[in-house]
Amino acid sequence: MTVKVRFFAVLKSLVGKSELSLDVEKGISFGQILGKLKVDFPALDKIMKEGKILVSVNQDVVGADYLLKDGDEIAFLPPFAGGSATH
């Protein structure tokens, strides 16, 4: 089955692409695919160790044991900065 992976903002240039399609075996968990992506993209592994990246599945937060379905969309989201220049 195929899942889509998206990278936003600074991650696009760190990883070198904004999205990719991944062929994975049925029954793979969110935790497993995260591990796989960290191996494929060491820059991703490094920035995630700094602990500021949120990873969503189908635009929601899921646990590591979530079992992926065909067509699921995983997204790597750096810290948000919407809402103007003020802080």
């Binding site: 998206r6 936003f8 903002a9 600074v10 500021k52 969503s56 635009q59 997204a75 989201l77 750096p78 810290p79 948000f80 900065a81 919407g82 809402g83 103007s84 220049a85 003020t86 802080h87």
Partner: protein, 142 residues
């Protein structure tokens, strides 16, 4: 309904039109509090030439809708508009507009302030600043 009051768009918005649209949803509205975020010409001491906002389409709109629903539930208010621009924004231009209409002004002030805090906290929108020294993705801390 929600569609009309929650938007992410590249075009500028009209503060007047959005205010009147919200005001005219109910004659019970007596106080309207608005937050307008605009592009400043410096940030952390750095001069800025322009900003680019990127969002996660679908998820960002969903989050704004959730903020609106939660505000309508938690505060004694009548209507909420939330609009965020994306794409290239020049210094001085509008970025974000939040309008809250209520019978009483205190609730409108509280809800509007909460909405912009929450928008910054949970909405997948990112900002790239172009300065004379180069391009940088900004991390803002609410």
């Amino acid at each position: 309904m929600t569609q009309e009051f929650i938007r992410i768009q590249t075009d500028d918005f009209s503060v007047e039109n959005e205010t009147i649209k919200l005001r005219d949803t109910s004659k019970r509205i007596g106080g309207i509090v608005t937050f307008l975020g605009t592009a400043r010409d410096f940030s952390k001491g750095q001069e800025i030439n322009k900003m680019d906002f990127e969002h996660y389409p679908g998820m960002a709109e969903k989050r704004l809708g959730e903020i609106r629903d939660q505000a309508l539930k938690d505060y004694d208010i009548i209507e909420v508009t939330i609009i965020h621009r994306v794409g290239e924004i020049a210094v001085g231009e509008n970025i974000v507009l939040i309008i809250v209409g209520a019978e009483h002004r205190q609730d409108a002030f509280r809800a509007c302030s909460w909405c912009i805090d929450e928008l910054k906290r949970i909405t997948p929108i990112w900002k790239k600043e172009t300065t004379p020294k180069g391009v940088v993705w900004v991390e803002e801390h609410p």
